[in-house]
């Protein structure tokens, strides 16, 4: 019996957020048997190369951020004469701390909008069995590229006075993340046995209260994973942010850094430092919640298929 089957029968939902990689305990002791064989070496080599590939771009950003204007052109990995200059002058080039603040504000506000819409909708679809068609529409709307909505939303938002506004951008991000949150949350809500809800309803507890008191406490880890993913999606968003909030004091960090490009002389060292500043919040969030994230992504991906297996 595999872990996913166990998860389904177990009324507590915690196994869903165990890391997607099998624990050493349930993995076959393959590595022990074949250690130091050519196959084991090949495996290590492949993993090592992949790791190098995954780390290299950000590591090079870090190294570049300590290079002087001349050294940036050297083509070496490590700076020969490391300097703090790029970091010290960072905020004098652009008000990146304000851009960072804008990004965080938009992401938090968008998260609130997403969850306020997606959580009740998922509950209605999964537990009350309403609105299956809406669920289908919601998911298929995710297929369409964001650029499709760009021009119409720009005109409508401008008409409504929502361009160059933190709330306006958060509304777009929040609404466009609803399908993602819906998809992830659906898996988690399905893991809460319907019997629990039915018991509550029989006691005369309304659906809203059942959602709040019975379901949310049980899917807390899944909700956290969903929230982190939505936060990161909004924080990383660039297209709408660049078009809707073009006023300098409202720019988000991704837009601000993209404008480094526009200048005639690009100072690579400074750009690297700015990029690292922009990356730092998401990395901190991802590392802090990494267990939730991997479990959440994995659970969402496999639940649909495991459910069908006998």
């Amino acid at each position: 019996m595999n872990v996913a089957t166990l998860t389904r029968q177990n009324p507590t939902v915690t196994p869903a957020v165990t890391p997607a990689v099998p624990h050493p305990a349930d993995a076959p002791p393959l590595s022990k048997r074949v250690r130091a064989s050519p196959r084991w070496l090949l495996q290590r080599l492949a993993l090592g190369l992949t790791l190098l590939f995954l780390v290299l771009p950000v590591a090079f950003l870090l190294a570049t951020s300590f290079k002087s204007r001349d050294e940036v052109l050297s083509g070496y990995f490590f700076p020969l004469a490391p300097t703090w200059l790029n970091w010290r002058t960072l905020l004098s080039v652009a008000p990146l701390h304000l851009n960072l603040l804008n990004s965080l504000l938009v992401a938090l506000l968008a998260l609130f909008i997403t969850l306020a819409i997606a959580v009740p909708a998922v509950y209605a679809v999964v537990k009350l069995r309403h609105g299956q068609r809406l669920a289908g529409w919601l998911l298929s709307s995710y297929l369409s590229p964001p650029v499709v909505a760009l021009l119409p939303l720009f005109f409508v938002w401008r008409q409504a006075g929502l361009t160059n506004s933190t709330f306006g951008l958060a509304l777009v991000d929040g609404l466009s993340n609803v399908p993602v949150a819906f998809w992830l949350l659906r898996g988690f809500f399905k893991q809460v046995p319907l019997a629990l809800d039915e018991a509550a309803w029989l006691e005369g507890v309304g659906p809203w209260k059942t959602l709040w008191r019975v379901n949310l406490p049980l899917i807390w880890p899944g909700l956290t994973a969903t929230a982190i993913i939505c936060l990161i999606l909004s924080y990383n968003e660039f297209l709408f942010a660049s078009v809707l909030n073009s006023r300098p004091d409202l720019r988000t960090i991704t837009v601000a850094i993209s404008l480094f490009e526009g200048e005639r002389v690009v100072n690579f060292g400074q750009m690297a430092a700015a990029s690292l500043l922009g990356i730092a919040p998401v990395y901190a969030l991802a590392l802090w919640f990494q267990k939730h994230l991997i479990g959440g992504l994995g659970a969402a991906a496999t639940l649909e298929h495991t459910r069908r297996q006998p």
């Binding site: 393959l30 021009l151 991906a301």
Partner: protein, 281 residues
């Protein structure tokens, strides 16, 4: 409980669709949308000169191969990672590219691939593979593969995580039985695991394909669609037509053709997914 979701969907999906249709059939400027009715003129223009059709084709030829490569690499890596004991720190590291803002992925790869001072050229020149710096992003041949490379860097971890999760759902008893019967590991994988994984793998491919079709940020930062039009993918072209050349009506017409194209490219995968799921019950 469904009200807000329906309203939100109408606002970000329904309204834009209707509005785009209206824009596509009329002449507009940024200041005055829907100024005059032009009928199907913009569609005739788009279908007539073939430039946009080429962009659509290029977008498909970008999205499908890069998703396939990522799926193959991701599955391979997931299989490798499965047997690794100290996977914990590996798993944290692997998450990071996925979380990086695509704009900054673009910046990082731009620095790596820069002709002057980039690590790629630095190493290849040092090793004597290259005699003169190669401007990867300025080359007709290499610019699109470079965009794919940056895209793969960002999304390979995602595919690996999803493949690992899919591998975890495989029932182990069948495998053990097959192994006891003397089936080789390759045989077990091809004849038992792969068919069981098929729905998950197709699902992952669909997800990646849809996301690859949307690619905008990396192109914007890395190449701005160039050199020439060699990396002009559909999203970038629409953005350029609408918000750079301010030809709103034409951009709207392009948008509709692009939506149609996305449907066309994803439809066979959706059908295949449904077929596989029906077959495996």
């Amino acid at each position: 409980m469904l009200g807000p979701a329906a309203l939100g969907l109408a606002l970000v999906a329904g309204l834009p669709l209707v509005y785009t249709l209206a824009l596509a059939l009329s002449q507009s400027t940024l200041g005055r949308p829907l100024a005059a009715w032009v009928g199907l003129a913009q569609f005739r223009h788009l279908l007539g000169d073939g430039v946009f059709l080429e962009t659509l084709l290029r977008t498909g030829l970008y999205a499908v191969p890069s998703s396939l490569v990522q799926l193959a690499l991701g599955l391979g890596l997931a299989l490798l990672l499965q047997g690794v004991r100290q996977g914990r720190w590996l798993r944290s590291l692997i998450l990071l590219p996925l979380m990086t803002p695509p704009v900054l992925v673009g910046v990082a790869w731009k620095l790596l691939l820069a002709p002057a001072g980039g690590l790629f050229n630095g190493w290849l020149l040092h090793l004597g593979v290259l005699d003169a710096p190669l401007s990867v992003l300025g080359s007709d041949t290499w610019a699109l593969p470079a965009v794919m490379l940056a895209d793969t860097w960002q999304w390979l971890p995602f595919v690996v995580i999803l493949c690992l999760a899919a591998l975890q759902t495989l029932p182990s008893d069948v495998h053990e039985a097959a192994r006891l019967e003397g089936a080789s590991e390759l045989n077990v994988f091809v004849h038992i695991s792969l068919p069981q994984l098929a729905p998950s793998l197709l699902g992952i491919f669909l997800l990646r394909e849809v996301m690859a079709l949307k690619t905008f940020d990396v192109v914007y930062i890395l190449t701005a669609g160039g050199p020439g039009r060699s990396t002009t993918l559909a999203s970038y072209e629409i953005w350029k037509t609408g918000l750079h050349n301010f030809d709103i009506g034409l951009a709207a017409a392009q948008t509709l053709l692009f939506s149609l194209f996305v449907g066309l490219v994803t439809w066979p995968v959706l059908k295949a997914l449904q077929w596989v799921e029906r077959r495996t019950g």
